[in-house]
Symmetry: C2
Subunit: 303 residues, 2 copies
């Protein structure tokens, strides 16, 4: 057990460690074309909560309870943030959601053009598998690293995130049921968060039961997080959330509050949080405290 | 040593085996969205020479000389063709090369729209890492499979293919030197072919020296193949090569014949073929015959 520090300090410290590692993901002896490198860095180093990589680190720490877990899981954490960043770049493209702003700055293609934005996304996605493989040098067994690689391909790919985005594109004319909307969110958002928890678990050689419990925690938190996002998009202030308020409603995008109302949406967030906590309780982790705290913090946030 | 069959029969047989395996790359219990699946299959199952996957299979066979090598390297072969296919889909996009036809059929985005084409490419790329990981179930050691995964990320990513495409995009206004053009081709085309040879080698647990020799063979063949393509684009008939002749010239794309003339381009193909053969000779392979034959066949083709 580490000395107790408050959650805010923990999150800041982990975020800074992730950002330091992200600045270092491209080998210095690779001759990466300048504009491509700039375009990738523009989005990868644009700040943000670094929620997914922190979940990976926190899961590794929760399983092992020691200080080595964080370092060993860092390659996985970086890979996850790279995959998340690529998905944002591609989702923002004119052909997709056609968004001009992200985190208060022009989107990647507004700065570098559509072609370079496609390539920056492709580059980040591809390189994420290179980065995660380096965990083997930090002592994670090759079988575990390979499992993480295979699972990333599943949860970020046609089963998961890419599949969810395709459902979202197909459904834009007619998402009418909660089931349909939930399926989109589960794949677009929850799958990668669930994977983040599993990846951290693998870094600390978690058991199959622990991996499943961590995944269930991640899936529930991920869905709750997305609903919370829908709620904040309707009720937040522009300054706090970094993009025009009600942008979803203006685009006539179907959201949880639109389908079941604000009150029911809030109840759904509570119920999912409860399910997430139950999953954690069942996992038999050495030190799960941070995971509880992060979920609690995320799901009661106002921006 | 297998019974000698002629190269044509060998290539047809391997191509059919690759295509059968490609029809099976998505697990049947995954609920992949229908349109996404169709869009990926449209390009993945569109025929073609299957040059890269066949090189992987042939390299595995060359190192081991037995019949098990082909089966063990098939997951790598499929992953390579998936990565090659994704790169064609993204390269054809309006934001990139804006091509309407590929192999005599409308390009992916002309059929499924730009958004689905981006996602089909993302899906194929991501899933390729899932497919290759399955080699561990066929008896390839986890360390080797992980090496293949890491190398694919390098040769297909910002160091290799994505980097080459970015150079190509940046350079469109002003590629004037042979050095510049060669650097683009080496990364856009040769890197993935060189990787195909290495991947096959890993499947048969090749030594470091053998891997390096196979990579050098692939890099030289890959570059020669690209120059040959430039030559055929200028001299071939539309029927034979499946796209309008001189399409590169019409787009004012700089090619080898444009920079150094047809005769010098042909000499460069011969010299590279010679270098490729020397690399093979140095590799100490059990049965390198097919690799020689494939290179010879490719670099003297007329379509």
């Amino acid at each position: 057990m580490t000395t107790s520090v408050d959650l805010h300090t923990y999150l800041n410290s982990r975020r800074e460690q992730v950002e330091a590692a992200l600045r270092d993901v491209f080998p210095s002896n690779w001759n990466v074309p300048t504009t491509l490198r700039e375009a990738m860095d523009y989005s990868l180093l644009a700040g943000g909560k670094r929620l997914r990589p922190i979940f990976a680190l926190a899961a590794a720490e929760a399983v092992e309870g020691g200080s080595g877990a964080m370092a060993r899981s860092m390659p996985f954490a970086c890979a996850i943030e790279m995959v998340h960043t690529y998905s944002l770049i591609h989702d923002d493209l004119p052909a997709m959601d056609n968004d001009d702003f992200r985190r208060g700055r022009p989107t990647n293609h507004k700065v570098y053009g559509d072609a370079m934005a496609v390539l920056a996304g492709d580059g980040l996605l591809t390189h994420s598998f290179h980065v995660l493989a380096s965990a083997v040098k930090l002592g994670v067994p090759a079988e575990r690293v390979l499992a993480v690689s295979e699972e990333l391909a599943k949860f970020a790919g046609v089963y998961g995130m890419v599949g969810g985005q395709a459902l979202d594109m197909e459904g834009e004319q007619g998402v009418t049921s909660l089931e349909q909307l939930e399926s989109i969110h589960l794949h677009k958002t929850s799958d990668l968060i669930a994977f983040s928890l599993r990846a951290g678990g693998h870094a600390s050689e978690a058991s199959e039961d622990q991996l499943r419990a961590l995944e269930r925690f991640g899936r529930n938190v991920g869905l709750a997080f997305q609903i919370q996002d829908d709620i904040l998009d309707l009720t937040g202030t522009e300054e706090k959330i970094g993009k025009p308020v009600k942008s979803d409603e203006r685009q006539e995008k179907v959201t949880y509050p639109f389908l079941i109302g604000l009150d029911e949406s809030r109840k759904r967030v509570s119920a999912l949080t409860q399910e997430a906590n139950e999953a954690l309780q069942s996992a038999g982790l050495t030190d799960p405290r941070r995971l509880y705290e992060i979920a609690e913090f995320l799901l009661t946030r106002d921006h």
